[in-house]
Symmetry: C2
Subunit: 345 residues, 2 copies
C-alpha cells in the first residue's frame, strides 16, 4: 500500500478535527533498522527507530502534521512557536504546506544562523527577543491568547495525537511490542506520546528507559535545572513541559530514567554511525548511551531482550558535531602506489 | 507490509550476486509528495519524488546498497571512491554497515570540512591528493585494478541495478507511469537508471526532461566542459560518466535536455520549500527549474499532464545555501504587543 502520511494511515485513532484535508508531507513510516553489531556487543536484540528520515529530519513532523491540520481546521492563518531547532523547522515546513505564516521566536544572540537553516529555508519569520527562551515561551502563549494565532509548541495537545503513532509503527515493524523502548528525554513529549500510543493499543507495553543529559537532568534529579548545559542541544531543557506525564509513564512501565554524560552520548553517537551506518543527532544517541550504561551496571533485565532505541533526528541536523575534533584530511601525491601504501594494501 | 530495503523488495529483478545477505539501511520507499500549489501555477499535475529521505540524505543510497552488497559477495574488505559529496557519504555508511573500510579521495584544498560531515561521521578514511578530481578518479580505478578494493563510483554497474528501482516506486505511487519525468543531470547515472527501470517494466514510459546547470552543461552543449561552474555542486560535472546512455534515453523517450542558470535553480529551490514545504539540495531543484523554463517557452506538451520531478537530495545536505543572503533575525523587546504589531496582527 502506498504511504500517504500519518493522518491517512491512523486518523481514525486521532483526536483531531477531520474538517479539512490533512496537512501532510507524508511523514512517518520511518524504518526500524536492526543494529546487529552493537546489539551483539551488548547481548541484546537491538533495533533503531530512525526518526531522522521524517521530511524535516526529526520526529517533530509526527506531531506537526496533526497540530497544523488542527490549526487549519480552526481557521488559523498564522502559527507560532518558541524554538531554536527541530520544532521550528517542522512548524515552518507544515505552515508552508498549509499556506500559513510561521513565526519563530528565539532568544537574542544565542543561536548561530546555520542552526536555523531549516526554519529559514521554509520561509519562517524568525524574530529574536531581548530575553530568555522562557520569555519566548511566555510570549507565544500570550500571543496565541490575544490574537488568532495557533501555538504549536509541545503544550499543544494535537502534537501528542500525531507523535503516539510511532509506538504503533514500532510494534508493526518488530512484529511485537519490544521488551524495552529507550529514548532521550528533554521536554518529555516524546516519551509521553509513545506511552500513550502503547497504552491505546490495549496489549502488552514495553518497559521504558529514558535518558537525560547529565547537565540537563531535572527528572532524574527531581528538581528544575536553572541553567541546563549539554552539547546535546535538543535535550537541553531544565523544566520539561510534560514532566508529570513522563514520570507516570516511567512508573507504570516499571521503567527507568538515568543521566548520561556528554562523553557517553557522543561515544554512542559515533558507534551508531561507524558500526551500524546510522548517523543521528547527538541528542538522539542519548537513549543508546543510557542503554549501554544500564547494561554495564546490570545486564539481567536486558540480556537477550528485544530492545528499540528511538533516534529522534538525523545527523545532518548538526554537521558541526560530526567534524568536531576530526583533523583535516592528510594530503598525498597523486600516485596510486603511495595511496595503496597509505591505506595498508 | 514492512519495508526492509530495496534488495528485499526488488532483488529478483536485480542483476547482482545473491550470495550474501543484503547490506541495507532500509533505503528507498521515499514518498512521492503532491505539489498542488506549484502545480496549479504551472497548469500541471505535479509530484515530487523526495529522495532526500533516503538514509544518508540522497538517492545515492539506492545504488550503494547494491554496490556494497555485490562488493561483500566478492569478498571485498575495502571500498573506494573519488567524491566530494553524496556518493562519499553513502559509500561510507554502507561500508560501515558491512564492516568494511571506506576510502574517499578528494582534491586537495578545495573542500570545506563541513561538506564531508557525512563521510567523516560514518568513519570513512578521507585522503586529499595533490591533484584534480579527475586525478582522483584515475587513481581509484588504478587502485581497484591493483588491489582487492571495490570501486563504488558510478562506473560500477551494480549502482544502476539499485538506482533503477526508483522508476518502479514512482509508477506504483502515482498509479501509472507519469507523462514526464524531470530531473537534474550531472554524471547522468540517475537519468540512465530511471530509463532502465521504466524500460525493464515493459509498459508505458515517460518522456524525460533533463536539466543541467548552465555552467556545467556538456550534454546540452555537445562538448566536454573543462571548468564546470555552478553553485549546484552535486551537478558540477563537465564530462558525465554516462553521457551516451543519457543521450540514448533522451532520444528514445522523445525527451528534452536544457540548461538552467543558477538563478533559476535557486528560485525553484526556494519555491519548493516556501510553497510546498519540501526542502531539497540546490542541485535537486534543477529538474523543477527546467520544467518551469520549458513551460514558459511552450506549455502545450505539459499542460494538464502528470509530471514527476525527482528531488535527489535533502536540503540539510547544504545548510549554507539555505541561509545565504538571509539577514540576521530582527530583535524586538520581550513584549507581546510589540510582537503582535511586528507580525501585523
Amino acid at each position: 500500500m502506498v504511504w500517504r502520511g500519518l493522518i491517512a494511515a491512523f486518523g481514525d485513532r486521532m483526536n483531531i478535527s477531520k474538517a479539512v484535508p490533512p496537512v501532510t508531507l507524508f511523514e512517518g513510516n520511518t524504518p526500524l533498522i536492526p543494529a546487529p553489531r552493537l546489539g551483539a556487543s551488548l547481548g541484546v536484540d537491538l533495533f533503531l527507530k530512525y526518526e531522522g528520515l521524517n521530511p524535516t529530519g526529526s520526529f517533530k513532523d509526527r506531531g506537526m502534521t496533526t497540530a497544523i491540520t488542527q490549526a487549519a481546521a480552526e481557521g488559523a492563518e498564522t502559527v507560532i512557536c518558541a524554538s531554536t531547532g527541530n520544532t521550528a523547522a517542522s512548524a515552518a515546513a507544515y505552515a508552508s504546506r498549509a499556506g500559513m505564516q510561521c513565526v519563530v521566536l528565539i532568544p537574542d544572540g544565542k543561536i548561530a544562523l546555520g542552526k536555523l537553516a531549516g526554519a529559514l529555508a521554509y520561509g519562517a519569520r524568525v524574530i529574536a527577543i531581548s530575553g530568555s527562551f522562557d520569555d519566548g515561551l511566555r510570549m507565544v502563549r500570550e500571543a496565541s491568547d490575544k490574537a488568532p494565532i495557533a501555538l504549536v509548541n509541545s503544550v499543544n495537545p494535537a502534537r501528542l495525537e500525531g507523535q503516539k503513532t510511532a509506538a504503533w509503527e514500532v510494534t508493526e515493524q518488530l512484529g511485537s511490542v519490544p521488551d524495552w523502548l529507550c529514548l532521550p528525554v528533554g521536554n518529555a513529549g516524546n516519551i509521553s506520546a509513545y506511552w500513550l500510543g502503547f497504552t491505546e493499543s490495549g496489549g502488552d507495553r514495553p518497559r521504558l528507559l529514558g535518558a537525560q543529559a547529565a547537565g540537563a537532568a531535572p527528572i532524574v534529579l527531581g528538581h528544575v535545572v536553572d541553567q541546563p548545559e549539554t552539547m546535546a542541544t535538543a535535550i537541553r531543557i531544565g523544566n520539561p513541559a510534560r514532566w508529570k506525564q513522563a514520570e507516570a509513564a516511567l512508573q507504570e512501565s516499571n521503567g527507568n530514567i538515568l543521566a548520561v554524560t556528554d562523553e557517553e552520548i557522543f561515544a554512542a553517537y559515533r558507534r551508531l554511525a561507524t558500526e551500524e551506518g546510522v548517523f543521528c543527532e547527538p541528542s538522539s544517541a542519548a537513549g543508546v548511551a543510557g542503554l549501554i550504561k544500564r547494561i554495564n551496571e546490570d545486564r539481567t533485565a536486558y540480556e537477550g531482550r528485544k530492545i528499540v532505541c528511538v533516534l529522534t533526528g538525523h545527523g545532518l541536523k548538526d554537521p558541526d558535531s560530526a567534524v568536531r575534533g576530526i583533523p583535516a584530511p592528510e594530503t598525498i601525491p597523486a600516485d596510486v602506489d603511495v595511496l595503496l601504501k597509505s591505506i595498508g594494501m
